[in-house]
């Protein structure tokens, strides 16, 4: 019963979770962390990816640093994040931003470098100035890669959410799983896992549908 609760127990736990109102505050807290972290990390990743992809000087300054930091799993930062940020919301966002940033940065960097040289030459022959070259040719040429990076980052933002909410939170889906585990409420743990999986799945589907529209010419 405790290790493998039957579906009825899980369902009852989930119903109670929803009825108490805690589910929605947990959901909101987690969604806030994931979306805010995703937007900040994604924006930074695209910005720096364009810079390092386009300008060799900036790339030789930053890329080595990013490549050293990139493989460190965000969960390994939990102790230092607690030291730096305490139990504040900023620390949790930091972890999600960290996870999202490197994925988006790398795919943007590669995307910018893989823009068809022929398109650049054609644009040069038509008198395209530097700024328009970046906006209308390079950025759009890299867009399919950027979108793939962002989609990968959607799942990653949920992985890092786990690390973030284990680093001492007061609400959130993963926080609820943690509390339920300490109280041996295995039904609630299972319900929490299902909720987390469902959230991540819906987010991925939504982003996939959005991606079709972002790359409009395909």
């Amino acid at each position: 019963m405790v290790l493998f609760p039957p579906p009825t127990v899980v369902a009852a736990a989930v119903l109670e979770w929803i009825r108490s109102g805690q589910f929605f505050s947990d959901l909101l807290a987690s969604l806030f962390r994931v979306t805010t972290g995703f937007i900040i990390g994604g924006a930074l990743g695209i910005l720096l990816g364009v810079l390092t992809g386009q300008f060799p000087v900036i790339s030789s300054l930053l890329s080595p640093l990013f490549h050293i930091l990139r493989p460190i799993p965000p969960i390994a930062f939990v102790p230092i994040v607690i030291l730096w940020f305490g139990l504040s919301e900023a620390g949790k966002l930091f972890l999600v931003v960290w996870g999202v940033f490197f994925t988006v940065w790398l795919s943007t960097h590669i995307g910018v470098q893989k823009v068809d040289r022929g398109l650049i030459r054609a644009a040069l022959m038509l008198g395209t100035p530097r700024r328009q070259m970046l906006q209308e040719i390079v950025l759009l040429g890299a867009l399919p890669y950027i979108v793939v990076g962002l989609r990968t980052a959607v799942s990653i933002s949920f992985y890092t959410l786990v690390a973030a909410e284990l680093a001492g939170a007061f609400a959130g889906i993963v926080y609820r799983i943690e509390i339920a585990q300490q109280n041996l409420q295995t039904g609630q743990v299972m319900g929490g896992l299902a909720a987390l999986g469902l959230m991540s799945f819906i987010a991925d589907r939504l982003f996939a549908a959005l991606a079709e529209r972002i790359v409009w010419w395909r």
Partner: protein
């Protein structure tokens, strides 16, 4: 007023004399793993304003490199290149280029691909679109103005690329084997299209091809190049009447011109073969 009167006959005179393109002693050397490779060896030629010149030669003879250099896309080089009297260092909007691949911007519709150049030169969107619509009509793609490039056939894409290159009203149009990737039937149609188009635009055209038939059908003058290193072997004036179409290929005058060209190419091929044997 006096100044204008005094200077205008002279400037008309110099404009008449000045070639549209002057290439003098152009040499291009590439660094390769096996050391330096001379791609183009002291090539010189002039192109008169409004003239249609074809550069023909085998692949690897440096003909595309010569064209890219005139476009300002290939640096560094030795020698001098003047376009409309001014030296070339970088791409300039009065020189248009059509590449072997259409290189259309996939995220822009046909209309906005063609309008790109005028917009970059500071024209308003309305003006640029008006220019684009005229050119779309000229290349016969009215039905496809709002289509994206990936929905067009190879021939249609290349027509868009030609229209796009013409949108800035270039004085000089450079074409790098633009029909090389098309099937034989489409290519013949495109050649006829280009001949008809050429009568309506005033641009000087330099057209690179490895197809000697294509060169003779299109050009006023054919420059035959040889490979290793790239040099100009022979200049052949094509005095076939205009307006011309690809049906000129069965005329006796055409056939004798073609024989002249093939003789030059065959002699060079033999020489190159014997030389490589001696190495």
């Amino acid at each position: 007023m006096k100044l204008a009167l005094a200077s205008s006959p002279a400037s008309v005179e110099s404009a008449r004399k000045q070639p549209a393109i002057q290439v003098s002693n152009l040499s291009i050397v590439f660094d390769t793993k096996r050391g330096q490779m001379i791609a183009v060896d002291r090539v010189s030629f002039d192109v008169a304003p409004g003239e249609f010149v074809c550069i023909a030669g085998p692949s690897g003879c440096g003909k595309s490199t010569v064209l890219n250099t005139i476009a300002g896309l290939e640096v560094p080089f030795e020698g001098e290149i003047l376009v409309e009297g001014a030296p070339v260092y970088s791409p300039r909007p009065d020189v248009g280029m059509v590449f072997q691949q259409p290189h259309l911007f996939p995220w822009k519709s046909v209309r906005s691909n063609i309008a790109h150049g005028p917009r970059m030169l500071g024209k308003s969107k309305t003006e640029a679109y008006a220019i684009a619509d005229d050119l779309i009509a000229m290349v016969g793609l009215k039905r496809f103005a709002d289509a994206y490039p990936n929905t067009l056939s190879g021939g249609m894409q290349q027509r868009v690329a030609i229209a796009r290159a013409l949108a800035n009203q270039p004085r000089v149009l450079l074409m790098d084997e633009p029909f090389g990737a098309l099937d034989a039937q489409t290519r013949a149609v495109m050649q006829d299209n280009l001949l008809a188009l050429r009568d309506r635009i005033k641009a000087t055209i330099v057209f690179v091809t490895h197809d000697i038939d294509e060169a003779i059908v299109l050009a006023d003058r054919v420059l035959i190049m040889s490979a290793g290193p790239g040099r100009i072997l022979r200049e052949v004036a094509v005095k076939l009447p205009r307006p011309r179409s690809s049906s000129v290929m069965v005329e006796p005058a055409y056939l004798s011109l073609k024989k002249d060209c093939l003789d030059v190419i065959r002699a060079e091929g033999l020489r190159a073969f014997n030389q490589s044997d001696a190495d």
